[in-house]
Each structure stands twice: as structure tokens, then as C-alpha cells.
């Protein structure tokens, strides 16, 4: 009983200061941002209170509506693609392969390259190299295809990170489990389906949530590749919030957009977490 209390006290002593720190530099500014969403604040200088006007505008703004559609379409496709590919990559890089360190290192490079480089290189590939091979017009100039180009670049850049997380997940699978499994004759797909995957399920959850979040907040790739074009077909929500709120004079309105966006992603992620956590328990 005494040790139970000691344990509780220690946990509280850890959690409370950290929560306070987090509150001060995340929640507090968020609350201020929430306050600004009821103003026509430009980000500096004086401002007026405008009540619910920004929120009313938000739901009638077709540009915001389109950005939601684009962002969710992109995030869904990219998340699935990235997770499948990085799981395969992780299994491959974790297998008994030659040049392991070299291969792991090389496949990590896309994640380190800066946005300027990635933007330039991929613009070049889409504008000059691919059309030369396929004899079709550039994907980036076609409003029906530009989003696919962005999915490709997002995947190219972020597979490394998700692979890394899967690899560290695979380290928690004890070797004797595999040995036992191979004694039972489980190999290949079955071994993955019934043994490996359930064991790394918590990492699948983490990757789904992180990946979904990164893709929903896509910004760098858009700035680097299309700047929202062609014909405003690739304006993501973060792109609008940053460009119109920070660089433009719409800070108040975009704060309202950010608040709604935040609520939407939290709901999605919590649902995702709950669903996946339940699955973890079942497995």
C-alpha cells in the first residue's frame, strides 16, 4: 500500500510540471488564437471585435471548402500509400540483407533534404523529365493531376520516417517468437499476418496517426511544387492558414479556420486512436 502511494506520487510529480509546461506554450497561445478568431486582427496593430462573423464566413467560403476537400483527399490517399510502402520497406530493411547500414542510410536521405531542393528537383522531374518519357503534359499544370504529383512527393519524403518507426517497432518482436513460428510452419505472408503484424500493431497505430497528421497539415510540398495552383486546385488548409493569415492580412479569419481545422483533426485522430487501440486489444 505504501509503495502504491509512492508510485502514485512519483507519477504525479512527473506529469503535473510537464502538463503545465505544455499548457503554457501550446494551449495558452491556442486560446489566444481562439480569441483572435473573433476579431479582424491582422497579426499586429489594433483590431476590432467582429463576433461570430469569421465563423459564419468560414462555412460559406468556397475556397475554404475546396481546401478541405483537397486536403482530405490527399491525406487519405497519401496515408494509405505511405503506410503500405513503409511497412514493406521496414520489413525489407530489417531482413537479413547485405549492405544494411548503407541501404538504411540511403533510404533515409529524402527525409533530410530541404524543401527548396525537393521542390526544384521534383518540379524538374514533373515538368521536363516525365513529359519527355510519357509524351503527356506536365502533371503539375493539370488541375486534375496536380494533387497526385503532391501525393507522390509527400510519399517520397515521408516514407523514411514511417519506416524508421516500423523498424524500431520490429525490434520489440523477440526472436524466439519467430523461431517458435517457424517450428509451427508459419512462413511468409502467414507469419506476417498472424505473428509480426499483431505484435507491431501499436506502431501501426502510431504511424497511422502521425502520417495522417503530417499529410493533413501538408504545406512545404505545396509551396515547393505548385503554390496552390493550377487554378487553385492544390490549396491545402495549412496553405490558406499560413498564406492568408500570416503573410496576408486575414489573421483573425484564418484563426477561425485553424480552430475548426484543429477540432476536425482531433476528432479524426481520437477516433482513429480509439478504433486502433481496440483492435490492438483484440489481437
Amino acid at each position: 500500500m505504501k509503495s502504491q502511494n509512492e508510485r502514485k506520487r512519483t507519477f504525479l510529480l512527473i506529469a503535473v510540471p510537464i502538463l503545465l509546461l505544455f499548457f503554457c506554450f501550446n494551449t495558452l497561445p491556442l486560446l489566444r488564437g481562439f480569441m483572435y478568431s473573433f476579431t479582424n486582427f491582422r497579426g499586429y496593430g489594433k483590431f476590432d471585435w467582429v463576433g461570430w462573423r469569421n465563423y459564419a464566413d468560414l462555412f460559406t467560403d468556397t475556397r475554404v471548402g475546396n481546401s478541405y476537400w483537397f486536403t482530405f483527399k490527399l491525406a487519405l490517399v497519401a496515408t494509405i500509400l505511405i503506410n503500405i510502402l513503409s511497412l514493406i520497406m521496414a520489413l525489407a530493411l530489417n531482413a537479413k540483407i547485405r549492405f544494411k547500414s548503407f541501404l538504411r542510410g540511403m533510404y533515409f536521405i529524402p527525409n533530410i533534404l530541404g524543401a527548396l531542393v525537393v521542390g526544384y528537383i521534383f518540379s524538374y522531374i514533373f515538368t521536363y523529365i516525365l513529359p519527355a518519357i510519357t509524351h503527356a503534359a506536365s502533371m503539375l499544370a493539370d488541375k486534375n493531376w496536380a494533387w497526385i504529383a503532391i501525393v507522390i512527393v509527400c510519399a517520397w519524403q515521408s516514407i523514411a520516417m514511417n519506416t524508421l518507426i516500423y523498424i524500431s517497432g520490429l525490434q520489440t518482436v523477440p526472436e524466439d517468437v519467430y523461431e517458435a513460428a517457424s517450428l509451427d510452419g508459419a512462413t511468409g505472408w502467414n507469419r506476417f499476418r498472424y505473428i509480426t503484424f499483431p505484435l507491431i500493431m501499436p506502431f501501426f497505430t502510431i504511424n497511422m496517426v502521425l502520417c495522417m497528421k503530417n499529410n493533413l497539415m501538408v504545406f512545404d510540398q505545396i509551396m515547393a511544387l505548385t503554390k496552390g495552383g493550377p487554378a487553385q486546385s492544390t490549396e491545402s488548409i495549412s496553405f490558406l492558414i499560413y498564406n492568408n493569415g500570416m503573410s496576408g492580412g486575414q489573421f483573425g479569419f484564418q484563426s477561425a479556420n485553424a480552430v475548426i481545422f484543429f477540432i476536425v483533426i482531433v476528432i479524426i485522430s481520437v477516433l482513429q486512436l480509439r478504433f486502433l487501440n481496440k483492435r490492438e486489444e483484440q489481437l
Binding site: 496593430g45 467560403d61 503534359a137 499544370a141 503554390k227 487553385q232 493569415g245
Partner: protein, 414 residues
């Protein structure tokens, strides 16, 4: 912070009461990062000749973002160097800038440029809030050697321009390059045509409810669209950088862009012989106007405690010798009266510059969050003029609501 300020102020006052006065520090933050070296050079020169004032000049990357964050922190510089665009209108509207009408150096500035910055005020505000320093000019850059070789003449009117484009095309050369993937590039021909075809104060007129863009912008929209056939195929695939490279490599005879693009073009082809001419948007040869705006102006901050010292710095910067240093390095157009040696790529525009026959970029009045460049890009892809103009009017009201209210209140009370 306040304590430190008071403290340093005390030191200043204390030391000023003695003969060995510590110099007043004037901080200048300007946004043209490419002019970093010139400002370092000018600051050194200033400090070598002035004992009473120490000039600290900086030209950071992302200067506008940095300035905004400094305003939030209330750590104001004394002088800011910004462009004559909507950012200036916003800073002015936020009451951050000081009235410099008492500054004597203003008399040396060309009235056309003072008018341009006065035109940027949301509502007419008594006083002058900036000292225009440098201007840039936009229109059409052309490959002078290529023109000489084929004997092409600079067009004076829209029909002549179209004829020229046809001639160039007939010679097997691409007349124009656009680079419309970066949406902002669509504004280059747009602005250059607008000075010829729309009233300079059209945005104010719309704000007052006296005009609509549907009427004022139709011809501009149609002519911008008409140019597409003379440019590269699929212009929405290529960006500004591609266009600069292509023009530098002789892939087109002309490039619809401003003088600001010249350094980037020359970096690819240092020996290129570039000249420019005014976009002949009007059908009447006498109806052309140069598209020129204030590229760099100095504003004294309202909170600066040392306005007189700031004026002294401005006096120094406006000395003809120092203006010439800037022009030589940046191919800029000075806003001051007087004889200056202009860069050769401005030859074709010189007579408009000397005559002061110019008007500001329309987009300096557009709020950036409205993303007019993206709307124009959409129109150029779809080609539907009516839809575009209707959207322009609709969005304008949506994005300028507070300013329109302000203008109308002002008109009601004046």
C-alpha cells in the same frame, strides 16, 4: 524590456548633457535582401562621416515577417525600408508609421511617386508617411541582339504589338515566355496592361461603390488572354525560374516581366543584351503609360524617439552620389529628381521615366489574401472572361469588407 529602454534613455540623456555625447543609434531594417551589400557599404560610409549618429542597417531574409514579429514584440526599428504595396497600406492603417511631411528631403522626390504612395492609403490620410527611394518598372523585356538581327521595331500600340508577335512567330521564334506556374507571374502582364487600360484609382472607386471591375477590367482580361497564344506551350507547367532561364537561353524573343528579373536572367547568360519597352496596351500610340511602382521606400516609425536623427540618415541616403551607388548595383529607377545614369536595360522606357508618365502596379492595391494572381491563373486556364470578372467583383467585396466600410464611413463624414 521597458526597464532597459528607460535605462538606456537615461544614459543617452545623461551622456548627452556632457560634451562626449554617445552617438544616437538609428536602426534601419529594409526588405530588399539582394541589396544587403549596398546597405552595408552605405552604413559604413555614413558612420565614417557622422560622429553623432550610428547607423545600424540590416537587410534580413523574410524581412516582412521579421518586421511583423518585431511589431508584436514592440521592438521597433527607427526606419523601415519596404515596398510601396499593400503591406505599407496595412502598416499605415495600423498607425505604426510617422508623418514625415515636415521632412525637407521630400521636396527632392518626384511628385509622381509621392502620388503613388498617397494612392496606397485606404482612406485619404493627411500627411505623408514614406519617402520613396527607388522604383522598378515592368513591361516587356526583349532580346536586343535578336531584335537587331531581324530588324524588329519596338511596338507603339496594341495592334503593332500583335503584328510584332506574328512576325516573330513567322520567323520561327517564340515571341513570349510567361512562366505562369508560379501564380504571381500572371500579374506581370496584367499590371502592365492595366496602367494603360484602367483608371489608376479603380480600386478606390470600387471601394466607394462608384465602379465595378466587370466594366473596368474586361479589356485587360481579354488582352492578357490573347497573349497566351504567343507564349510557350502549356505555360502553367513552367515557373518564373524556368522562364528566366528560357529567355536567357534565347528560347523566346520577349518576356513579360519587370526590370527586377534582369539579375536572375543575367546569372544564366551574363553576356545577354537586354532592353525593355513599355507594354503597349492601348490601341492609341499616345495612350501608353509606364508601369512603375515604388520598390523601396523609407518610413520612419511612429515610436522612434530619434526622428531628427532618422531624417539625417535619410538625407544621407538621398544624396545623389549614394543613389547612384544603389542604381548601379540594382538596375533601379530613382524616385528623386535629378540626373542619374540609368542601366542600359531601361533604355526603351527612359522617355516615360523622364516625363513622369507612369502609374502604379494595380496589384499593390490588392489584398494578398485575395490571391488575385491565382484567380488570374484560373481564368487563363479556363478562358471564361465573364465568370472571371464576376468572381473578381464578388471576391473583392468579400476580402475588402472592412476597408469598404471604412471608406464609406469616411465619405459619409467628409
Amino acid at each position: 524590456m521597458r526597464r532597459i529602454l528607460t535605462f538606456s534613455l537615461l544614459i543617452v540623456i545623461f551622456s548627452a548633457s556632457f560634451a562626449w555625447a554617445a552617438p544616437i543609434e538609428i536602426e534601419l531594417v529594409q526588405y530588399k535582401q539582394e541589396a544587403l551589400k549596398i546597405f552595408e557599404q552605405l552604413a559604413d560610409k555614413f558612420n565614417a562621416t557622422h560622429d553623432n549618429i550610428k547607423l545600424k542597417a540590416s537587410s534580413p531574409s523574410e524581412a516582412i515577417t521579421i518586421l511583423k514579429t518585431r511589431f508584436i514584440r514592440e521592438k521597433y526599428p527607427d526606419i523601415i525600408g519596404i515596398g510601396g504595396d499593400v503591406e505599407f497600406s496595412n502598416f499605415l492603417d495600423a498607425e505604426l508609421l510617422a508623418d514625415v511631411s515636415s521632412y525637407k528631403g521630400l521636396s527632392k522626390i518626384k511628385p509622381a511617386y509621392i502620388n503613388i504612395i498617397e494612392g496606397l492609403e485606404f482612406v485619404p490620410t493627411p500627411g505623408t508617411y514614406g519617402v520613396p527611394y527607388m522604383a522598378n518598372a515592368a513591361g516587356i523585356l526583349y532580346n536586343r541582339d535578336m531584335f537587331n538581327e531581324h530588324g524588329w521595331k519596338i511596338p507603339e500600340s496594341w495592334p503593332e504589338f500583335i503584328k510584332l508577335c506574328e512576325d516573330i512567330k513567322a520567323a520561327g521564334i517564340r515571341p513570349l515566355y510567361f512562366g505562369y506556374k508560379d501564380t504571381w507571374t500572371t500579374l506581370a502582364p496584367w499590371n502592365a496592361l492595366a496602367v494603360d487600360l484602367a483608371p489608376a484609382d479603380i480600386c478606390q472607386q470600387v471601394n466607394m461603390g462608384k465602379a465595378t471591375f466587370t466594366q473596368a477590367y474586361r479589356e485587360i482580361a481579354e488582352k492578357t488572354y490573347a497573349l497566351l497564344q504567343y507564349g510557350e506551350e502549356g505555360p502553367f507547367a513552367y515557373g518564373y525560374n524556368d522562364a528566366c532561364t528560357a529567355f536567357a537561353r534565347g528560347e523566346s524573343a520577349m518576356f513579360t516581366i519587370g526590370s527586377y528579373a534582369v539579375p536572375q536572367i543575367l546569372s544564366v547568360n551574363p553576356n545577354m543584351n537586354i532592353d525593355s519597352f513599355v507594354m503597349p496596351g492601348s490601341d492609341d500610340p499616345n495612350g501608353q503609360t509606364l508601369n512603375s511602382g515604388v520598390d523601396l521606400m523609407f518610413c520612419v516609425m511612429e515610436n522612434s524617439p530619434n526622428k531628427e536623427a532618422a531624417y539625417e540618415v535619410l538625407d544621407f541616403l538621398l544624396e545623389p552620389e549614394n543613389i547612384q551607388i544603389y542604381i548601379d548595383a540594382q538596375n533601379a529607377v530613382p524616385c528623386s529628381e535629378g540626373e542619374f545614369k540609368l542601366a542600359p536595360m531601361l533604355d526603351g522606357m527612359r522617355k516615360y521615366i523622364t516625363a513622369g508618365k507612369m502609374a502604379d502596379y494595380q496589384d499593390h492595391h490588392y489584398p494578398s489574401e485575395m490571391s488575385v494572381s491565382a484567380i488570374i491563373q484560373t481564368f487563363l486556364i479556363n478562358g471564361n472572361v465573364d465568370e472571371f470578372l464576376a468572381k473578381f467583383d464578388r471576391d473583392w467585396i468579400r476580402y475588402n469588407r472592412d476597408i469598404i466600410t471604412k471608406v464609406q464611413n469616411y465619405n459619409a463624414s467628409h
